[in-house]
């Protein structure tokens, strides 16, 4: 059943890295964020091991600034429940309009568990059977099917809200969100995030079908976003074309380093375990955990502030480095690592051979600055 999983040793090392806790699932958001910053080994390793970055960040004293509030989660769940209640009444009405569903296309199957068993492997097998198996009940809507995506040589389980399978064999990914669509317009950042997330699901579903010998083109690049109209609860359905996002995602997935290579430089005993007591309170000494984390370098950039729960910790660590100011900044500064070095060169310090070229530019910039502001570089 798990024949595609990595060989034992890598799995064991990742388990060791994570410690006692259960693995945190990848979701489409973390995968799209991971693909967006593939150069950060710390993040790549932690996500591969399924480490709970939120808890770790909190324990070392840098709690993450984001994550949905309890009320947002409750509101989101309540909206989704309303859309799906009464035999998916509202959902069917929306899809009959948006996708031109046939009157007969009303099948609804729940993949949240298998006969009460929530095991991910079981759910994935059953999802495969349901989506592409020949002998299955009349089907149209699949609720929380469990897909898999190869990420960095490893499988991540993914859970779209819904997948619709048409009588003609076409698949559509459907996401339910609770941000409002007012007069046909929604928060562009949120729509963009939903589009990337849907693209990840499209990719996973296409891979599933291709692996089974089918035509991945059956998965439409048109996905559906269901959100409340205005601030009332009435749902409205919008189509998203995710071809562009698919292209970006595919390029990034190809570039990602395999996990074995990432693990290689570090001792087998390295672990981010929190050593929780019976109430779940972490007992591992803060400094010890911070030291373990520091063993694996990070690649902090301001983008981390919206995508990774460790951002404050890594930012503090990167303070004084040019990379922390932005991805392109270090390039513009000729690859020099620290702000202090840059300023020293600008003040006239003797450069090394590699620094010669950028030193000339920095001196020139300092001159201009002095002319404009009337003061030397501090």
């Amino acid at each position: 059943m798990n024949s595609d999983q990595l060989p034992g040793p890598v799995e064991a090392r990742l388990d060791r890295l994570r410690g006692r806790a259960l693995p945190v699932n990848h979701n489409a958001r973390t995968i799209s964020a991971l693909a967006a910053n593939p150069g950060c080994p710390r993040r790549a390793l932690m996500d591969a091991a399924g480490v709970d970055k939120q808890k770790i960040a909190a324990h070392i004293g840098y709690p993450a600034p984001f994550g949905q509030s309890r009320f947002a989660i409750t509101r989101g769940n309540a909206f989704e429940a309303r859309v799906k209640e009464n035999g998916a009444a509202q959902l069917l009405t929306l899809l009959r309009d948006r996708l031109d569903l046939d009157l007969a296309e009303v099948g609804y199957t729940d993949f949240n568990d298998v006969g009460g068993n929530p095991s991910r492997e079981l759910r994935h097998v059953r999802t495969r059977q349901g989506l592409i198996g020949p002998h299955y009940a009349p089907r149209t809507l699949f609720d929380h099917p469990l897909l898999r995506l190869r990420v960095g040589g490893r499988h991540a389980y993914l859970e779209p809200d819904l997948i619709a399978l048409r009588l003609d064999g076409t698949f559509h990914v459907i996401e339910i969100k609770s941000f409002p669509v007012i007069d046909g317009q929604a928060d562009p950042a949120k729509v963009a995030a939903a589009a990337i997330q849907s693209a990840v699901y499209v990719r996973a579903l296409r891979d599933l079908i291709a692996d089974a010998g089918g035509d991945p083109g059956r998965v439409s690049h048109e996905t559906i976003l269901i959100a409340p109209r205005d601030f009332a609860s009435q749902p409205v359905a919008t189509s998203l074309d995710v071809r562009k996002q698919l292209g970006v995602l595919d390029r990034q997935l190809v570039r990602m380093t395999k996990i074995e290579a990432l693990l290689e430089p570090y001792p087998e005993t390295l672990t981010f375990d929190l050593d929780p007591d019976d109430d779940g309170t972490p007992r591992r000494p803060r400094e010890e955990l911070a030291a373990a984390i520091a063993v694996v370098p990070a690649d902090y950039a301001p983008e981390c502030l919206v995508t990774c729960e460790l951002c404050f910790a890594c930012r503090a660590e990167a303070a004084g480095s040019t990379g922390a100011l932005g991805k392109s900044v270090r390039e513009d500064l000729g690859g020099i690592e620290y702000n202090a070095q840059v300023l020293a060169l600008a003040r006239g310090q003797l450069p090394s051979a590699e620094q010669a070229e950028i030193a000339v530019q920095l001196l020139r910039a300092a001159q201009l600055r002095e002319q404009l502001l009337g003061e030397a570089v501090p």
């Binding site: 059943m1 309890r70 209640e85 035999g87 069917l92 099948g107 609804y108 949240n112 006969g115």
Partner: protein, 300 residues
């Protein structure tokens, strides 16, 4: 007073979700705090209801089809009382299980706690918090296992056709035939259409149906092609939705699904009777049975 009860019911629903989230997220401290809040909200609801009952005219019991509507409604949105109706709060003397039985007997199909509460409020004059309904199934199972078939009926589960496991969120009546208590892939929609017809029938039996009943029918009609007045006319208020129109539209769509659904349900019911003991037939199988339906497992 009306706002208090209704707001409390919404708060209780939200807190239930919050407790579940906290438990599943592995945060016991948060879960405890939320549970305490939930208990306080439920107690506040009881107190408010007691206070309301103390003010009310003689308590309504049994099927009551008169006008007064309990102000705390759990149906969609707030329902302002129309001029001709008094929003007199009232309570039922019946135990919860009997109220649920009343509502399910009207619907004649497995239903979720929210719909059950709405139907009871619309046609029997009183409602109850959905949180109490979800724990009812557990209590009924305990009662059955202690003394099987001792009661004339039990509020039980509906079983999913594939694994005969309890279908999440649905309640049924034990005296119904097995075929009605199994859920195939078409059954959610089929049962929705059937429920619409039953509600339409029930409304036609009442000389002056209460607003909550007409609103319920309106909500059904909004999701059935041909049941609501067409586009271009004024938005379908509860007064413009006609029971016989809804019935005919629901029947029309039902005819598309009925045969396939019956076949699936019969096959699943036969399997349930063959494979499951009495308690499992009523409350679902917790194990994962090996059936022809699971197919070749682990083909990857």
């Amino acid at each position: 007073m009306a706002e208090t009860i209704e707001a409390l019911e919404r708060r209780i629903d939200e807190l239930r979700v919050a407790v579940r989230e906290a438990v599943l997220a592995g945060d016991p401290a948060l879960a405890s705090a939320r549970r305490a809040e939930l208990k306080r909200a439920e107690q506040a609801w009881e107190d408010a209801l007691t206070a309301a009952t103390a003010l009310a005219s003689p308590v309504l019991a049994g099927p009551v089809l008169a006008g007064p509507v309990l102000a705390g409604t759990v149906s969609a949105g707030t329902v302002p009382a129309s001029p001709g109706e008094t929003a007199e709060p009232s309570g039922s003397l019946l135990p919860l299980r009997e109220q649920v039985y009343e509502a399910l007997s009207l619907l004649q199909v497995p239903a979720a706690p929210k719909l059950i509460a709405t139907v009871h409020e619309a046609f029997f004059g009183s409602t109850f918090p959905t949180t109490k309904v979800t724990s009812l199934k557990r209590d009924e199972e305990r009662s059955f296992r202690t003394a099987p078939f001792a009661r004339p009926y039990y509020i039980c589960a509906a079983l999913s056709a594939d694994y005969l496991s309890p279908s999440r969120g649905l309640l049924a009546v034990s005296t119904w035939p097995m075929e009605r208590r199994v859920i195939g892939s078409l059954s959610p929609r089929v049962d929705f259409l059937t429920a619409a017809i039953r509600v339409a029938d029930a409304i036609e039996r009442i000389p002056t149906p209460p607003l909550s009943a007409r609103r319920l029918l309106q909500r059904f009609a909004a999701s059935i092609p041909g049941a609501a007045p067409g586009p271009g006319s004024a938005p379908a208020g509860p007064d413009r939705v006609k029971p016989d129109v809804v019935r005919r539209a629901a029947d029309a769509e039902l005819s598309v699904h009925a045969d396939a659904d019956s076949r699936m349900r019969k096959e699943a019911a036969d399997r349930a009777r063959r494979q499951l003991a009495d308690a499992e037939q009523l409350f679902g199988s917790k194990l994962q049975p090996v059936t022809e339906e699971t197919g070749p497992v682990g083909e990857g």
